[in-house]
């Protein structure tokens, strides 16, 4: 029997894919029944708490845990940063305690005495000049002859822009329940890497990866920060072992979560553009900098200019700044939102300087992008949906009154494809179907998409598919990062279910008196192609299997996507804001997102992804920033009160337009996790500049910064 011809059904033949399906884990989540790692309660479970370092830079001289150990109810204490350890950021874990209750564990933590030698620290990077020896220049990228091009330019536009360090702020903090009993570990983490995290933990504990059993039904947010077992996973396992194998629950408190469990690098840049009178850019020069904590980091020189990569003459420099702050982790579309913001602000400032409509300037420069026609079409669509023609005005000409309205543009790109993924499909003789993958659903709708692909292939309804994910005993699937999950699991599920169906058709063929290749699975039946009269119900067909279920695998090989998935999408967002120039308060009226995304399996959850990404951009543009104090070295707003996130009344109206066309569809499946989260901050920042007539150089666009820009001073 030959291998099935793996491909997606033709657009007009799809019955499940492309329809709007409610997420299948919705009922579990809305009813509180669904269990997240932090919801796991096991018999005899202990609670752990961490002692963290209040200093940004310090050497541990001694750690005295005696009093903690002596407290009644404490079962184990582990030192995580022993004498001699140099702490590089505040919030670093120094010791951990397991106890009968969380209250006792916290009491015990307070009894641990640590003597620190406090060292000098630096936690700021906004001012590159002040960084001195903490600067790590990454080397210059030089293309063409920028000096000559600037000489020939009709106009030179210069600007400085900045976007601070943001936090993932996953609502479910990092952590796990873990039970190390005998030589095996039962592990319930909060992770976006079900198949991989067990091996990570095992390596840190020097035990076989095979001995770690990972389970996770649901995860309360990851956004790129939850791939590894982390020090808290390792110490929780050790505490469990030291407590006779009792399960231990250790989840970070909110302050610690924000301080150490994930941030994204800042991005600052001075940018010069040389252009012709018509807005065509001929020269780019930038010096960018940023921090990702102790590693320097930030936007790589290769990431600027963003999207407009083929500007012919460029000089690009980037400097990472080392700070004593919690290290960065991957954050939805790493560095893209920063790069988009820096680039698109510079382009709109150029347009303003030339007194040109930015639509025209972006359009003219799309020639420098990988997909000019896609961007042009998207920009036209976004302009239409945002009523650009009616609402846009030249920068600063918003008319009288204290509330000024403005529009602005942001542009994005992202890769895609699919991670390695294996899927196992079991068709039982009673007709039930299991689809198993060691994957995870971050809220993106992965479970539902798997069910839809399986249902499509098998001619069943979504409800007839039992999707089993969240266990590392299922066939391995990649961690969810880089918008590669949907590509990976869709292909492995499609292949696995096609393979299984093939076996079923072979088993059924004799009964229907035709060869297997003349059969199809449609509407809950196995039938002779195009002939419902010659058919068996799904259940009757499966009964032909006797007692032996069909078990078939399917794999997505990232190196050979077989035309089922693709990469490289574009997106454009246009923001519409109102700014009260007396108070500097910015309100979002509308954010329009136009996004191409290949073949869409579930438009309902796909749209949710884009809505969510837009809202994250609104948070980043208007509210979020990590505020570090140089005197204390502390992250002052490591809470949810002053680390501000938009509420339900802070987001205006959001219009999502998924670019669903036969041409895009033919490219196959492309993930949507990252692309739509990229351009929103740029669009909002540009809209504010358009509204008030001056550039607010740094986001978030808080009243202090807006008023400072209006008054011509730096905030």
């Amino acid at each position: 029997m030959s291998e099935p011809n793996y491909r997606w059904p033709a657009r007009d033949k799809r019955r499940v894919m492309g329809t709007r399906v409610n997420r299948i884990d919705g009922p579990a989540k809305v009813s509180g029944r669904g269990k997240y790692g932090s919801d796991i309660n096991q018999p005899g479970m202990l609670f752990a708490a961490l002692l963290t370092c209040p200093h940004a830079h310090a050497r541990v001289r001694s750690v005295d845990i005696k009093e903690a150990q002596a407290l009644k109810g404490v079962t184990a204490v582990e030192v995580m940063s022993g004498p001699g350890t140099v702490i590089q950021w505040a919030g670093t874990e120094v010791a951990a305690v397991a106890a009968l209750t969380e209250e006792i564990a916290r009491d015990a933590v307070r009894r641990i005495k640590v003597d620190y030698e406090v060292l000098s620290h630096a936690v700021k990077e906004e001012d590159l000049k002040a960084a001195g020896g903490r600067s790590k220049p990454a080397g210059e990228v030089l293309v063409g002859d920028p000096d000559d091009a600037f000489k020939k330019a009709d106009v030179i536009s210069e600007g400085e822009y900045g976007i601070p360090v943001l936090q993932h702020c996953c609502l479910e903090p990092h952590g796990q329940v873990v039970m190390w009993k005998g030589d095996t570990i039962e592990y319930w983490p909060s992770t976006q890497n079900v198949s991989g995290i067990g091996g990570d933990l095992a390596q840190s504990l020097s035990i076989p990866a095979a001995n770690v059993h990972v389970r996770q039904d649901h995860v309360g947010g990851g956004f790129g920060s939850k791939f590894s077992a982390d020090r808290w996973g390792v110490v929780a396992a050790k505490l469990s072992k030291a407590s006779g194998g009792r399960p231990v629950k250790l989840f970070l408190d909110r302050r610690t979560e924000l301080e150490i469990a994930g941030s994204r690098p800042s991005g600052f840049a001075r940018i010069r553009l040389g252009a012709r009178k018509d807005g065509t850019i001929i020269a780019w020069e930038s010096q960018s900098w940023g921090t990702s904590g102790p590693g320097g980091g930030g936007v790589a020189a290769t990431q600027l200019p963003y999207v407009f990569v083929n500007i012919p003459n460029k000089r690009v420099n980037h400097t990472g700044v080392i700070t004593h702050t919690g290290p960065a982790r991957a954050w939805r579309a790493p560095n893209h939102p920063q790069a988009s913001f820096l680039t698109c602000c510079a382009i709109e400032d150029l347009a303003a300087k030339l007194n040109l409509d930015p639509l025209e300037v972006f359009d003219r420069n799309f020639q420098y992008t990988a997909r000019p026609e896609v961007y042009r079409a998207q920009l036209r669509k976004a302009a239409e949906l945002s009523e650009w023609e009616k609402l846009w005005h030249p920068r600063g000409q918003a008319g009288p009154g204290p509330v000024k309205r403005g529009l602005g543009i942001g542009v994005a790109t992202w890769g895609g494809l699919g991670h390695a993924s294996d899927c196992r499909t079991t068709i039982h003789p009673d007709g039930s179907v299991e689809v198993e993958l060691g994957s995870q659903d971050l809220g993106t709708g992965t479970r539902t998409v798997i069910a839809m692909v399986a249902a499509e292939t098998l001619g069943l309804s979504v409800g007839q598919i039992q999707v089993k994910i969240g266990d590392n005993r299922y066939p391995p699937s990649g961690g969810s990062g880089g918008s590669t999950t949907v590509g990976g699991v869709a292909v492995s599920t499609r292949k696995s279910t096609m393979n299984a169906l093939q076996k079923l058709l072979e088993a059924v063929a004799p009964a229907l008196g035709v060869s297997a290749d003349q059969l199809e699975a449609v509407d809950g039946r196995i039938q002779v192609r195009g002939n419902p009269a010659k058919s068996l119900t799904w259940k009757a067909a499966c009964q032909k299997l006797g007692v032996k279920p069909i078990v078939e695998m399917g794999r997505n090989d990232p190196k050979n996507p077989m035309g089922m998935i693709s990469q490289g999408v574009g997106g454009i967002q246009i923001a519409d804001v109102s700014v009260d120039v007396e108070t500097g308060v910015v309100k979002l009226n509308r954010l329009v997102a136009v996004q191409d995304c290949g073949l869409i399996i579930n438009p309902k959850t796909a749209e949710s992804q884009v809505y969510g990404a837009c809202i994250m951009s609104i948070c980043g543009a208007l509210f979020e920033e990590r505020i570090m104090c140089q005197q204390t070295g502390r992250f002052l707003n490591a809470d949810m009160e002053f680390y501000k996130l938009a509420g339900i009344d802070d987001i205006g109206e959001i219009i999502v337009h998924l670019d669903i066309t036969p041409e895009h569809d033919a490219r196959g499946v492309i993930g949507l996790g990252e692309p739509p989260v990229v351009p929103g901050i740029a669009a909002i920042a540009n809209a504010v500049a358009n509204a008030i007539g001056v550039r607010v150089p740094r986001v978030p666009l808080t009243p202090d910064r807006v008023l400072a820009a209006l008054e011509g001073r730096r905030a």
Binding site: N22, R23, D25, G26, P27, K29, V30, S31, G32, R33, G34, K35, Y36, S38, D39, N41, F47, T101, E102, E103, C169, C170, L171, E172, P173, H218, V219, G220, G221, G222, F223, F251, D253, R254, L442, G443, T444, K604, T605, E607, S608, Q609, Y611, G612, A613, C614, I615, M616, C619, D639, M640, E641, L645, A646, G647, I648, D649, I651, I654
Partner: protein
Amino acid sequence: MKRSKDPESQAQPKGLSRRGFIRGVGLSGGAVGLLHPEGEAAPAPAVLGPGPVPITLLVNGKPHKLEVEPRVTLLDALRDRLDLTGAKRVCDRGTCGACTVILGGKAVYACSVLAIDAQGKPIQTVEGINAGGRLHPVASAFVNQDALQCGFCTPGFVMAAKAFLDRNPNPTLEQVRKGLGGNLCRCGTYVGIRQAVLEAAKQMRGGARNV
């Protein structure tokens, strides 16, 4: 500084009053006697703890007896002691709303209520309004409108929305936007939530007419 004239106060943690001291003795001597008047004096207020204290919580229509220290929050009691984990611990500082439950008919942050202080009033959790495998109209509208992603803020939002609709059965979009200002979402599900609350309002009004 003015100090208590009572000599017994010397034997205590600084400044605690005599009655508190007596209560403390009472507790170690048998706890239950605490609620009874002591001696000749007017009924003395009971001082409980700091050790575990028996309490009864009326959760989803059922009384639950448990022993907790006075410092244990309602949220931790529900999650850790009663395995009702629908209410989530996110900020744990009365800001994000993920722990929202309905106490005595009103939405509250369970992280900011002491369990011992939640006695005597009905406590409704997300599990309670969706009991028996039947989704409450609010919860069901959240599913229909895809008003959730990771889902960690969702139970809190569902409870806040239910409490909101109990008081505003026919809200405008504007009222919905203003009425759910005590909950935060990180994935960005607000667009769906707005629609879900409007849909649920319609459903619940329809349901009421049918009864």
